[in-house]
């Protein structure tokens, strides 16, 4: 097997649920050796979240868990039990990076905060990620990414102006912050490579995610304006919308970026006279008369399969795409061409499917190397192969009950 770019990176991963584990999953794809510690008694919330293999709930059924943890080793350890201490300290000595995503204070209570970790291994890079950051009046505000998205302003900016907020789908900051988690770890590794120094990284998922709202935040600072949800309208482009297509909940997104795009769309719709209509000459005209125009486009799109509307528009270089759900994405020839989904052997289900690495590196490509660990799957491997414990020591650890 070709050398993987991060195969010299060792991570002790205490993170759980979605935001944290999705960040280290990216590093696992490129070869980082990751030992994730799970509680044997308090099940990782991610293991309980949909979608489930064959729609059946079970401890190893969650596709979300499997997507966030592919390529990692899993050990169960009762962190609260002092007898787990020795194993954890040995793992800290082994690791370059320690990550955790509990609410602040948890690691301190267990004697595993940065000052404690640093005493064991001074050049450790430690990253804590939580909703609001380690300090401040809301430091102890815990929960999930839907809450961090709401408090960061995403919900109020998503939906129709004549209705209440719809909100972005699900735990939105859990899709944004993992990238910044991976970036922060890689940057700290580079700093350590040059200086020999480790450090502590305090990542607030809300603060990282606010970079995705920068234009709205600057609009407030520069112009005193507080943006609010605007449906699918765009300040520059028109038409700019999602139009009904043939079938239940079938839609096509269409955007005209220029007047030429609009003329071409009118030809595609076989309505050349619409392009000459005084109400639709400029983008500003078309925005002003959007409801009339949207009705004209809908009357055309309603008769077509979404992929057919997409094909006709794209043939004239108009930005358009079927609005795809999981079934349609799975069947998208582009997705298949890029090898987005990867099949892996699975100890419970025989096989499973996860998303593959997103960044395609030409010389040292990443790969999803193994399915996410089942609960405690790698206990022995971690103790024996990673920590080099003797048979006796392993029996001792098992006998102490800390593995669950």
């Amino acid at each position: 097997m070709a050398r993987l770019p991060l195969e010299d990176v060792k991570i002790l991963d205490f993170m759980w649920v979605m935001a944290g584990p999705a960040g280290t999953r990216m590093l696992a794809d490129y070869g980082a050796v990751i030992v994730r510690v799970e509680s044997p008694t308090r099940i990782d919330t991610a293991r309980t979240l949909a979608p489930y293999h064959n729609n059946q709930i079970g401890p190893d059924a969650s596709g979300l868990f499997s997507n966030c943890n592919a390529g990692k080793f899993g050990i169960t350890l009762d962190i609260g039990n002092p007898r787990s201490r020795e194993v954890i300290f040995d793992l800290v000595r082994w690791a370059d990076v320690v990550t955790e995503s509990f609410s602040p204070k948890a690691m301190r209570a267990w004697g595993l905060d940065y000052p404690a970790i640093r005493k064991i291994k001074p050049d450790t890079i430690m990253l804590s990620t939580c909703l609001m950051g380690q300090t401040g009046p809301l430091a102890s505000f815990a929960g999930f990414g839907n809450l961090a998205a709401a408090i960061s302003g995403f919900h109020n900016l998503t939906g129709w102006p004549d209705r209440g907020p719809a909100g972005p789908f699900g735990a939105y900051t859990d899709y944004v912050s993992p990238r910044f988690t991976a970036i922060a770890i890689l940057a700290a590794l580079e700093y350590k490579r040059r200086t020999g120094r480790g450090q502590y990284i305090d990542q607030s998922q809300a603060e990282a995610s606010l970079h995705f709202l920068s234009p709205a935040l600057l609009d407030h600072s520069a112009n005193g304006r507080a943006q609010i949800r605007a449906g699918n309208t765009d300040p520059d482009f028109a038409p700019h919308g999602v139009y009904p297509a043939k079938g239940e909940d079938q839609w096509v997104a269409i955007v005209c970026k220029t007047d030429d795009d609009f003329s071409a769309l009118c030809e595609v719709m076989k309505r050349p006279e619409v392009a000459r209509d005084a109400r639709f000459q400029t983008s500003a005209d078309r925005r002003k008369n959007a409801s009339v125009l949207d009705e004209i486009i809908s009357n055309w799109s309603r008769a077509l399969e979404p992929r057919e509307a997409e094909r006709l528009a794209q043939a004239r270089s108009i930005a358009a795409h079927a609005v795809q759900n999981s079934v349609e994405f799975y069947g998208d020839p582009q997705v298949a061409y890029r090898g987005h989904f990867v099949e892996l052997p699975h100890p419970v289900y025989g096989k499973t499917i996860v998303e593959g690495p997103r960044a395609k590196l030409s010389r040292t490509p990443g790969q999803a190397r193994r399915a996410a660990p089942t609960l405690g799957q790698d206990n022995e491997y971690v103790l024996e192969k990673i920590l080099g414990y003797s048979e006796e020591q392993i029996a001792d650890v098992a006998g102490s009950g800390v593995l669950g």
Binding site: F169, V176, S204, V323, P333
Partner: protein
């Protein structure tokens, strides 16, 4: 952290955030703009609503910590200059349509021929190859292709996007991860490589792994205003407050149901519902709804009780409940709420960045993480068009003033 490295950033609005992240981490990022300025400078909103390329707030948002030069790379002298710059660069990021730079003799292979250690990053809507590689694109279109759009919005209307464009930001952050992974490898091998990012694939992460429903033969999520549908269930996740809305994770099952148990017991204690309702098996409630053991009307009764509680409190009061009692409540913040957040203030999050050309400062979102040893610094405000032409062409490439003005006259710089 990246101060020894130089980045050439040729991206347009599709990829600006990638270079800014590397700049925030300390790299010397040179934004290479076509003469007249990047197309991203035409994107609003604008400072004082004046449509002027140096006043685009979209541009400001994603070009901090960069210097700017102008260069027409479609002309041969421009191409030569870019090759000279690429010789000493460590990263080159671009977001043109696949094959465009190669057609100018500036594809990754051309650049690597003069600098084999260069890491080239390409950010495109669908990736460098495949049946849709040359598709026309926009934020809305890649959101549609990637999976999150159909899940967002009201169930009786068309799917809807976040009003602040999000699509390419997901792709740009994936690109930064890829660039740093390749850099880590380069420190061992001495070699660069090319990184190919597809925004469509990046966006599938924004489905909460719902994109795996089809391959795993599971129920798909479907959109519902302020909530989500799955199977026969429509879960309500937004609730009215006295002064707006809150998000509440009112769900069931072994992990999330624990919070609902705590919340409903409290509501019973405080007289918002009867004892029996308060002590229902909320852990097993979702399964009971699915099997029909509990009717859906019982779920709606519960959300009704919660709504009457939340609507008689303000967002701030409900947030206090979240902190003091561990309820899964969060206010739906307005932009004013965000900029006035006591939490962000306590952490000194927002950064005042001086714009001397406008005689004032502006408040930028702060560092994406707090590093104890090597904190992120905002060293430079977003550059004006070609602001660093002289500094870079004359000061660093050794061009004479006369050569520079000649190239400027001919429209190459």
């Amino acid at each position: 952290m990246l101060s020894p490295y130089r980045v050439l950033d040729l991206t347009n609005e599709r990829g600006l955030l990638c270079g800014q992240i590397l700049g925030d981490l300390g790299a010397d990022v040179i934004k290479v703009e076509p003469p007249g300025g990047s197309s991203a400078r035409k994107i609003g909103p604008f400072f004082q609503d004046e449509h002027e390329p140096n006043r685009s707030l979209y541009w400001w948002s994603y070009n901090r910590n960069k210097r700017s030069i102008t260069l027409d790379v479609t002309r041969s002298e421009g191409r030569e200059l870019l090759l000279r710059l690429a010789k000493d660069a460590h990263f080159l990021i671009e977001s043109d349509s696949p094959g465009h730079l190669a057609s100018l003799g500036l594809g990754y292979k051309d650049l690597a021929a003069t600098n084999p250690a260069l890491i080239g990053v390409s950010i495109t809507p669908f990736g460098q190859d495949g049946p849709k590689a040359s598709y026309a694109d926009s934020d809305l279109v890649i959101l549609a292709a990637g999976g999150p759009l159909v899940l967002t919005g009201d169930d009786d209307r068309a799917p809807v996007r976040v009003s602040v464009p999000q699509g390419y930001l997901h792709a740009s952050t994936d690109a930064a991860v890829g660039a740093l992974v390749a850099h880590h490898e380069r420190c061992v091998s001495g070699l660069g490589q090319h990184i190919d990012i597809s925004a469509q694939q990046s966006l599938a992460l924004a489905t909460q792994s719902g994109i795996l429903a089809a391959p795993l033969d599971a129920d798909q999520y479907r959109r519902a205003a302020g909530g989500v549908k799955s199977g026969a269930m429509t879960a309500q996740l937004l609730f009215p407050a006295k002064d707006g809305w809150i998000s509440c994770t009112f769900l069931f099952g072994t992990a999330l149901g624990v919070f609902t148990v705590k919340l409903m017991r409290y509501l019973a204690e405080q007289g918002w519902c009867d004892e029996e309702t308060g002590h229902k098996d909320w852990i097993g409630f979702g399964a009971a709804l699915a099997s029909g053991a509990e009717p859906m009307s019982e779920y709606h009764r519960a959300t009704g009780i919660l709504s009457s509680f939340t609507s008689s409190h303000t967002k701030a009061e409900l947030l206090r409940f979240a902190i003091e009692k561990g309820f899964l409540f969060a206010p739906v913040s307005t932009i004013e709420d965000v900029v006035e957040s006591p939490q962000l203030r306590a952490r000194d999050y927002f950064q005042e960045v001086q714009h001397p050309e406008l005689g004032r400062s502006f408040r930028y979102p702060g560092p994406f993480a707090k590093f104890s040893e090597s904190p992120i610094q905002y060293r430079r405000r977003p550059p004006l068009i070609g602001e660093h032409n002289r500094e870079i062409y004359c000061g660093e490439l050794g061009m004479s003033d006369r050569e520079l003005s000649e190239l400027q006259e001919r429209g190459i710089i």
